[in-house]
Symmetry: C2
DNA sequence: GCTTGACGGCTAACACCGTTAGCCATAACC
DNA sequence: GGTTATGGCTAACGGTGTTAGCCGTCAAGC
């Protein structure tokens, strides 16, 4: 990816991070770089390709934010939620709707899921259930689905306690 | 809501149910009723108002689908997942993104959540964690985020077992 | 019976969207 | 020095939600 392409992806990331996916417009993106929209097509085939690069970038960010907390369930959950709250639009972009897997850098999706797999002790069912819980909590919070004033820390603790319970203890 | 308005909402529901939210276009909606797009604005202030009515309708549907399974956790979970898989686009519409609460029929959101609250034994933390898990499982499945061939029944069982565990037994 | 007004359709148009076609200046390379 | 790739540009197309303004129908009131 040439230098110009990286600038475009960075600008697109900033645009989404600030105003959400709907703010990412080819014209707005061009304007941010002092360029007209059609010129962007000299670097990317279409808008979806730019978005895919932003997703790749965000997944690497998320993996990086999770890595230091790997090993401890509640720390990992806190780091996961913290990233989502810090970058709600990026979180939504990479974790909602169909994923353009064929456009993503290979391995990046697995890398983001690795800490969770590790904390689940290699039990895929447990890992998937945990992932669903964490994603559910985060996305419902981001979308304002919980009643205003709801004690979400408490709900998180309750859920994590259930998963940490004696059902299937970590094998390591 | 007059007769014509109901026809519009029904057509909109059908359009979304068949092809997803993106298929709901004011022009397509009009065409389905033998009418031009601008005429729709004689019945609704904008597209968002039509969508809000469809959301209200879908929430009532979901509540109706959940009611027979109330009381039993795994039955309730099965009914929840079944509705989502039967009407993925409607599920996404009503459970993703910001909710236009001020446009929804009052009480409809609570009614859809009631069976879950009941099965959680009145424990709001437990109810929220369960909701997050169920929504997470469903939306990740709908979005194709799980690996192809993943045994999701098994993941559901694992998660439900964790929540049904001795952490906080039902109080009734 | 005539007038008035609401209702519910219509066309034309605007601003914005992603995208394509085609032109052109610069710069590197043989 | 000519050739070619790079990376800009304008103009335009078809699609989107939405607005303005026109007009036929039909019921109510005088």
């Amino acid at each position: 990816m040439s230098g110009r392409a990286e600038q475009i992806v960075d600008a697109a990331r900033a645009l989404i991070d600030e105003g959400g996916a709907a703010t990412l417009t080819m014209r707005a993106l061009g304007e941010r770089l002092g360029i007209r929209a059609p010129s962007l097509y000299k670097h990317f085939p279409d808008k979806g390709a730019v978005e895919a690069e932003v997703i790749t970038l965000a997944m690497r960010e998320l993996a990086g934010a999770l890595a230091p907390a790997a090993g401890d369930l509640s720390e990992l959950a806190a780091a996961y939620r913290a990233y989502a709250l810090a970058h709600p639009h990026l979180y939504r972009l990479m974790n909602s709707g169909p994923l353009p897997r064929h456009l993503l850098a290979p391995g990046v999706e697995e890398a983001a899921a690795l800490p969770l797999m590790h904390v689940a002790g290699g039990d895929t069912d447990r890992a998937r259930a945990l992932w669903a819980f964490a994603h559910g909590m985060v996305i419902l919070e981001l979308d304002g689905r919980f009643p205003p004033g709801a004690d979400l820390d408490s709900a998180w603790r309750t859920g994590l306690a259930a998963f940490a319970g004696p059902g299937q203890p970590p094998t390591y």
